[in-house]
C-alpha cells in the first residue's frame, strides 16, 4: 500500500516538476523577447516622433501660427500621455496629424489598413487598422467603419465608434447619430465624440430633438453644448417644454453653455419647474449667461423644498458674493432661522470674511453692512471668524473688536 502511494506521489511530482520547468522557461523567454521587441518599438516610435517634430518645425508650408499652436499644445501633459501609451501613429493636434500623414501614411499603407479593417479574422488587428484609418482621417474608411459599428462584437463596435469619431466629417457624423438612435448602451460615448466635431454638423444633430424617444431627444442639447452652435437656440428652447424633466434639464444646460441672453425669459420659467433637477440646471444656465445679475432671479429658491436646489444656490451665491451680500444681509436680519443658517454658510464658503473685516475698517455703507453680517455670524457662533481676524495687525484687530462690540 505504502509503495502504491509513493508511486502516485512520485508520478504527480514528476508532472508538476515538468509543468514548473515549462512555466519558468516560458516566463524567461517571454521576458527576454519582450525587452527586445519593446526596445525596438520604442526606438521606432521615437524616430517617428522625431521626424514629425522636425518636419513640423521646419516645414515651409506650415504657417508660423501652426508651429506656435504645436508648441503650445506639446505641453508635458500631452507628451506624457502620448509616450506612456507607446502607440505609434497617434498625435494629438491637427498639425502633427497632418505632418504625420505626409510622412507615414502612403497610399499603400491606407490600402493595407482598409483591407485589414475589412477582412482580418483577428479582431484586435481589425481594431488597430480601424483606429489607424480613423486617426489618419481616411474618408474612404467610413463605409468599413459604419459596417463595423453595427458588429455584434462589442469591442469592434466600440472602437469603430472611436475611429469614426476621429474622421470628423458629415458622413461619419450621420453614422454616429444613427448609431446613437439605435444603441442606448453607447449613447454617452457617442454624444461625447460628436461634441468634438466641427459646428457644421449641428443641423443634423438638432434632428434628434424631434425623435419620439425621449432618451434620444435628451442627447440633442448635450451634443449641441459641445458644438456651441447658436443657430439651434430656438429648437433647444422648444425642448424646455418637453414632457420629460431629463430633456428639459438637458435643454437648460445647453442654453447655459451657448450663453445667449435671448433665452433668459424661457429659463426663468424653468425656475418654477416641478422637478428639482430642471430648477438646478436652469439656475446654472442663468448664472452662466448673466453672471452676478442672475441673483435677483434665483434668490427666491433659497426657500425651495429641495436640498439639492438650495445647495446649488449656495454655490452660485458664494461665487458671486459681492452681488449677493445685500440679499444675505436681509436674510440675516430676518426671522427665518433656516435662511439665516444658509446665509452664514454662503459667507463661509465664499471666503469673504476677510473682506467684511476690511469693510468694517473702511467705514461708510460697507461698514454698516459688514457690522450687521458679522454680528449675526458671531451670535450664531459661526466658524472661521477667528482665523481671518488674526491676519490683521494688532491695532486693526482691536479696532474691529471695538466696532463689533459697539454695534
Amino acid at each position: 500500500m505504502g509503495n502504491y502511494f509513493t508511486d502516485i506521489v512520485f508520478k504527480v511530482d514528476a508532472v508538476l516538476l515538468f509543468l514548473a520547468a515549462f512555466l519558468i522557461a516560458d516566463i524567461f523567454f517571454y521576458e527576454i523577447s519582450r525587452i527586445y521587441f519593446d526596445n525596438r518599438r520604442i526606438r521606432k516610435l521615437q524616430a517617428i516622433k522625431k521626424n514629425v517634430y522636425r518636419v513640423v518645425l521646419t516645414e515651409k508650408e506650415l504657417s508660423k501660427k501652426d508651429v506656435l499652436s504645436i508648441k503650445s499644445c506639446s505641453l508635458p501633459i500631452f507628451l506624457d500621455v502620448a509616450t506612456n501609451r507607446v502607440k505609434e501613429g497617434v498625435f494629438f493636434n491637427e498639425a502633427e496629424q497632418q505632418v504625420f500623414k505626409k510622412i507615414c501614411i502612403s497610399e499603400a499603407s491606407v490600402k493595407k489598413a482598409l483591407s485589414i479593417a475589412d477582412r482580418s479574422f483577428d479582431k484586435w488587428r481589425r481594431i488597430e487598422a480601424m483606429l489607424f484609418l480613423g486617426y489618419a482621417g481616411v474618408n474612404e474608411a467610413c463605409q468599413i467603419l459604419k459596417k463595423s459599428l453595427l458588429s455584434k462584437d462589442e469591442d469592434v463596435s466600440y472602437f469603430a465608434l472611436l475611429a469614426l469619431g476621429q474622421v470628423k466629417n458629415m458622413d461619419s457624423a450621420k453614422a454616429l447619430l444613427e448609431f446613437l438612435r439605435r444603441k442606448p448602451g453607447f449613447r454617452y460615448k457617442t454624444a461625447s465624440l460628436l461634441g468634438q466635431f466641427p459646428k457644421d454638423i449641428a443641423p443634423e444633430v438638432i434632428k434628434l430633438a424631434g425623435d419620439k424617444d425621449y432618451s434620444v431627444r435628451f442627447w440633442a442639447p448635450q451634443i449641441i453644448s459641445g458644438l456651441n452652435d447658436q443657430s439651434c437656440i430656438d429648437k433647444i428652447s422648444g425642448l424646455l417644454k418637453d414632457k420629460y424633466p431629463e430633456v428639459r434639464a438637458s435643454a437648460c444646460q445647453c442654453l447655459g453653455a451657448i450663453g445667449d441672453k435671448s433665452c433668459v425669459s424661457d429659463l426663468k420659467k424653468c425656475l418654477n419647474d416641478e422637478s428639482w433637477f430642471v430648477k438646478e440646471a436652469a439656475m446654472d444656465a442663468l448664472e452662466k449667461i448673466l453672471g452676478e445679475d442672475c441673483i435677483p432671479l434665483i434668490i427666491g429658491l433659497i426657500k425651495d423644498n429641495s436640498w439639492v436646489v438650495i445647495d446649488r444656490l449656495k454655490k452660485i451665491l458664494a461665487k458671486n458674493i459681492t452681488g449677493a451680500l445685500a440679499y444675505i444681509q436681509n436674510f440675516l436680519t430676518g426671522d427665518d432661522e433656516l435662511t439665516k443658517k444658509i446665509s452664514i454658510e454662503i459667507i463661509q464658503i465664499s471666503g469673504c470674511i476677510k473682506e467684511l473685516y476690511e469693510g468694517l475698517l473702511a467705514g461708510g455703507r460697507a461698514k454698516t453692512r459688514a457690522a450687521i453680517i458679522l454680528k449675526v455670524m458671531m451670535s450664531a457662533n459661526a466658524k472661521g471668524l477667528g482665523p481671518e481676524l488674526y491676519s490683521f495687525s494688532n491695532e486693526a484687530q482691536k479696532q474691529i473688536q471695538e466696532i463689533l462690540g459697539q454695534n
Binding site: V12, L16, F92, E128, Y188, S192, E345, A382, K383
Partner: protein, 471 residues
C-alpha cells in the same frame, strides 16, 4: 492491531483527500489563468486603443468624488493627496476625512491646503460618527476636509465622506496609496464606455516600499528586494492577476479592494454605504453589491477589474505587521463568507455562487486546515511506519510544487499584461516562490490560524499595523 488498521486507513484517506485537494487547486488555477490571460489581453488591447484625449477634452467627462480616509497618516497623507491633486483627469473633487487623527495629520492638511472652516449642511444618509468640522481648501477649490470622531473604522470614515460626495462615481482610497497620474483616465475610460451598466471598478496595485516619492510623484521605482516585500508582491500578483481578472470575466469580482475602488454612488446610496460591523469593509461591500446585482438582474450591472497597476500602496515591512494585517484579512474573509453563505451554490447568483464562493470557502477559509491536518497526518503516518520517509518527502515536495506552480501561473499571466518588474526581479520572484513553502508560507499560515481564532473569539477590530517610514 485493529486500532493500527483503522489509523492506517485514516492516514491513507487523508493522504488521498489532500492529494486530490492540491491537484484540484492546480487545475482550478490553470482554469483561472486561461480566462485571466484572455481578459487581461482584452483590457490591454482596450487600453492601447482607447482615446484618452477625447475624454480629457469632452464636456461630458464623468466627474468623480474621491474619498480619502486618514487616521494618523502623518507620514503618508501628503504624498497621497499630492498624487491626487496631480491627477490627469478633467473633473474630480477630493474629500479627505480626518478620522480623529491624534498625530500631525490635521496640521499637515492645513499647511498643504490652507483650510477654512465652514458650517456645511450635508445629507446624513450614510452612518458614521459625528462630523465635527468641515473645511474648504483656499488653495485647491476641489478639496474638502472633514474632521470626525474616530471609532467606527475605515467604513465610518468613508461613509462620512460619502455624505458630502457630489458626483455619480465615487473613488475610495487608502491614505497610503499613491496613484499614477493617468490612473483615473485609464479606469474611467471603462466607465465612459458604459456608465449605465458599470457600477464598480477594481484595479491592481503594487507595493510602494522601496520607491522614492517626492510630493506625490514617484521619482524612482526601485522595487524592494526585501524578501518580505517581494513575497507580498508575489501574493498581490496571485491575488489580483492570478484570479481576480478571471473572476471579472464572469462578472464575479469578489473584492473591490479598499486601496483603490470606484463605485457608482446611486448604488452605494441604495445599499447604505459601507458597514462597520466587519473587521474590514471592502470585501463585505463587494459581496453586498453582488447580492444587489442578482436582485436587479434585468439591469445588467457589472463590476470590472482593470489588470494594469494604476497605483502603489504601502505593505507591511516587518513580520509582526504582516501577521497582524493577514490576521485581519483572514477574519474579514471568514466573516463575509459566513454572512453571505446563503449565496453558496445558489443559481440566482450565477458564477459568483459556483466559482467564487466555493473558492473562498475551500481555499481561503478551509485551505489552511487542509494543509495543517494533512501535514500532521502524513507526519504521523511516517512516525507510525505506515508511510516511509520517501513518501513523506515526496508529499512535502508535492505541496511545495503545487504552491510554486500556482505562483508561476500567476506570474505567467502577469507578465503578459504588465511591464512593471525588470527581468532580474521576475527571476528573483521565481526563486523566492520556489522556497515559499518553507518560510513565508509558514508565517502566513500562522496569521491565518490566528485570524481564524480571533474570528471565533468575535474580534472585529480594524487594527492598523505598524508601517515603516517612506524614503
Amino acid at each position: 492491531m485493529m486500532i493500527n488498521t483503522i489509523f492506517s486507513q485514516i492516514v491513507y484517506a487523508v493522504f488521498l483527500v489532500s492529494l486530490a485537494y492540491f491537484l484540484i487547486l492546480i487545475v482550478f488555477y490553470l482554469f483561472l489563468a486561461f480566462f485571466g490571460i484572455l481578459e487581461s489581453k482584452k483590457r490591454v488591447h482596450e487600453e492601447n486603443a482607447e482615446s484618452y484625449s477625447q475624454i480629457y477634452f469632452s464636456s461630458l467627462a464623468i466627474p468623480v468624488s474621491i474619498v480619502l480616509p486618514a487616521h494618523n497618516e502623518e507620514e503618508w497623507v501628503k504624498d497621497s493627496l499630492m498624487s491626487l491633486l496631480n491627477l490627469n483627469y478633467p473633473s474630480f473633487e477630493i474629500i479627505v476625512v480626518d478620522d480623529g487623527s491624534t498625530d500631525k495629520t490635521p496640521q499637515i492638511l492645513n499647511e498643504m491646503l490652507n483650510l477654512r472652516p465652514i458650517d456645511s449642511v450635508y445629507s446624513k444618509h450614510y452612518s458614521s460618527l459625528k462630523i465635527k468640522e468641515v473645511f474648504k481648501s483656499d488653495k485647491y477649490p476641489n478639496v474638502t476636509v472633514l474632521r470626525k470622531d474616530s471609532g467606527d473604522k475605515k467604513a465610518g470614515a468613508v461613509n462620512a465622506g460619502l455624505n458630502l460626495a457630489q458626483h455619480r462615481f465615487v473613488c475610495v482610497l487608502d491614505a497610503d496609496t499613491v496613484l499614477e497620474r493617468d490612473a483615473f483616465m485609464k479606469v474611467m475610460a471603462h466607465v465612459h464606455k458604459d456608465p449605465e451598466h458599470v457600477i464598480g471598478i477594481a484595479s491592481s496595485f503594487g507595493l510602494i516600499n522601496g520607491f522614492t516619492v517626492k510630493d506625490g510623484v514617484i521619482v524612482e521605482k526601485n522595487v524592494s528586494f526585501n524578501p518580505l516585500i517581494a513575497y507580498q508582491n508575489l501574493e498581490y500578483i496571485r491575488s489580483f492577476i492570478g484570479n481576480r481578472i478571471a473572476w471579472s470575466r464572469f462578472n464575479a469580482m469578489p473584492n473591490v479592494a479598499g486601496g483603490f475602488g470606484i463605485w457608482r454612488s446611486d448604488i452605494l446610496y441604495e445599499l447604505g454605504g459601507y458597514s462597520s460591523d466587519f473587521s474590514c469593509e471592502d470585501i463585505e461591500l463587494t459581496f453586498r453589491v453582488h447580492d444587489y446585482i442578482a436582485k436587479n438582474k434585468e439591469k445588467g450591472y457589472k463590476i470590472l477589474m482593470v489588470p494594469y497597476y494604476i497605483g502603489w500602496t504601502e505593505g507591511p515591512a516587518t513580520l509582526p505587521s504582516l501577521i497582524s494585517q493577514r490576521d485581519r484579512w483572514q477574519r474579514v474573509v471568514i466573516e463575509t463568507v459566513a454572512e453571505y453563505k446563503y449565496m453558496l451554490c445558489n443559481p440566482k447568483y450565477g458564477s459568483f455562487a459556483f466559482l467564487v464562493l466555493p473558492y473562498f470557502l475551500f481555499y481561503e477559509v478551509l485551505g489552511i486546515f487542509f494543509e495543517v491536518v494533512s501535514i500532521f497526518f502524513v507526519f504521523l503516518g511516517w512516525l507510525a511506519n505506515i508511510l516511509d520517509v520517501r513518501t513523506f518527502l515526496l508529499y512535502l515536495i508535492l505541496m511545495t510544487l503545487s504552491q510554486f506552480i500556482i505562483s508561476l501561473i500567476s506570474l505567467f499571466t502577469f507578465i503578459r499584461g504588465q511591464k512593471v518588474f525588470t527581468l532580474r526581479y521576475v527571476l528573483y520572484l521565481i526563486v523566492l516562490a520556489s522556497i515559499e513553502f518553507f518560510g513565508y508560507r509558514i508565517f502566513i499560515s500562522i496569521a491565518k490560524l490566528r485570524g481564524t481564532y480571533h474570528f471565533a473569539r468575535k474580534v472585529r477590530i480594524y487594527d492598523q499595523y505598524v508601517r515603516t517610514k517612506r524614503s
